[in-house]
Amino acid sequence: MFDNLFDIDWKSLALPFAYITVLGVSLYTFSTIYRKRKASQSANLEPWFPPHLQRNIYLSLLHMEPEAGQEKAPKIPDSVVRAALLRRAVEDIRRIIQIRTSKQALNTLLLRGSVGDDLNQRFQRAEKEIEEELRDVVSEANALAPGWGNSIFQSANEIAANQALRTKLDAIEGRSESEKQWWEKRRETIKKDFMKELDGESVKGSVKGSDDDGVLVDSGTPAATPGSAKKKKTGKK
């Protein structure tokens, strides 16, 4: 009697079991595919910053590979490693400044709905990355020279600011040649105009007498009048 019951039970249960398995499998596949897509979507979001070149150089230096034909990897002196770390810190400072300045603007834009959520996600990831990057640099600095972790970012900050200042000043100095040439040309034309005017006047003046005209021409030829130059000297000290 038991056997009988058992047989029937299995057969009638097959359908619900099949139903459950199909349901389970389909749910599982859906969730895995969905999650994978979402993960790949967020991974495909463009990173906020371009690749960190200085960091790559620093880490490449620590993992130098032997050149062809040689057994040992070349030894990198500590001073070079320290310089590379400092460059890395300078780049980090630049990135932090950029993050800080764009944060406010981004938040306002987000509140107004002018930018999408993607941008915010990218930004938050960049923020997190830079925090970890800073911690990493500090610990590396302390490993290279005891106590350097405390001051490396101060130094990096000054370096970044100093470099910015020097590029601006260089840009100004770089214009000097073209400005000078421009002024030379301009002065020539002013001179010519002046001479023309004088010629015109001297035709009129020659009736009276040429001596006075000679004096007039001499004092008048320099493009900038000497009187204004004197004013400058006394005007500012």
């Binding site: 991974a43 990173p47 910053f49 690749p51 960190h52 070149l53 200085q54 960091r55 790559n56 150089i57 880490l59 490449s60 130098m64 050149e67 070349p74 990198i76 001073s79 070079v80 320290r82 310089a83 590379a84 400092l86 460059r87 990355e129 970890e132 990057e133 990493d136 290279l144 020279a145 350097w148 405390n150 001051s151 490396i152 101060q154 130094s155 990096a156 000054e158 370096i159 600011a161 100093n162 470099q163 200042l165 020097r166 601006k168 000043l169 100004i172 100095e173 400005e179 000078k180 421009w182 002024w183 301009r186 002013i190 900038a224 130059a229 400058k232 000297k233 005007g235 500012k236 000290k237």
Partner: protein
Amino acid sequence: MSDIDTFTLLPLQIDPQSKALSTASSSRSLQAELAALNTLHRALLTVETPNQVPPPPVPVNPKRSANINKLRDSGNDAYRKGKHNDAIKFYSLGLQMALGRPLWEPQQLVREEVASLYANRAQAHMALQGWPEGALDAEASVEAKRVGNSKAWWRRGKCLLEMGRFAEAREWASKGLEMEGEDGELAALLKEIDVKLGKEKKSSS
């Protein structure tokens, strides 16, 4: 995606003698970065701290500041005696020294020194009627120090005026007035520019 645990291995080589880094890659940004790194490395080698790491920005080594001040004073003396060319030379030397400061020293200090040297050199150029040079030096001075630098604002304005660039001069002078607040000389300069501008308009119309 740049992960915190991964990095891109770059093809780097080191010269065993000079310790200079180079690369086989043709990437221009990488080469520029390596050049900057090599310069920084050489600068770091001259540091006298025990680990050869740059010292914290303050306190500053007073030697260089003293030299710069000396050069500026010599320049001022030459200027007062009317030797404008000598003054320009002194100021240029001072500028070289101020801009040659190690990069990790405080930029605020560099700005102060450079601003006064540029402003003084602008004045010397102006005494020689070198308007374009004076204009650029004054602009550089303002770039280094925007506020509390009314002399430099005035000098560039004056140079532009002398070169006949009235519209530029006017823009510059009014910007200077905005930054410096009420400055008598700048205001006077602005008036002068306006008079010239008015004349120019009259003659052209």
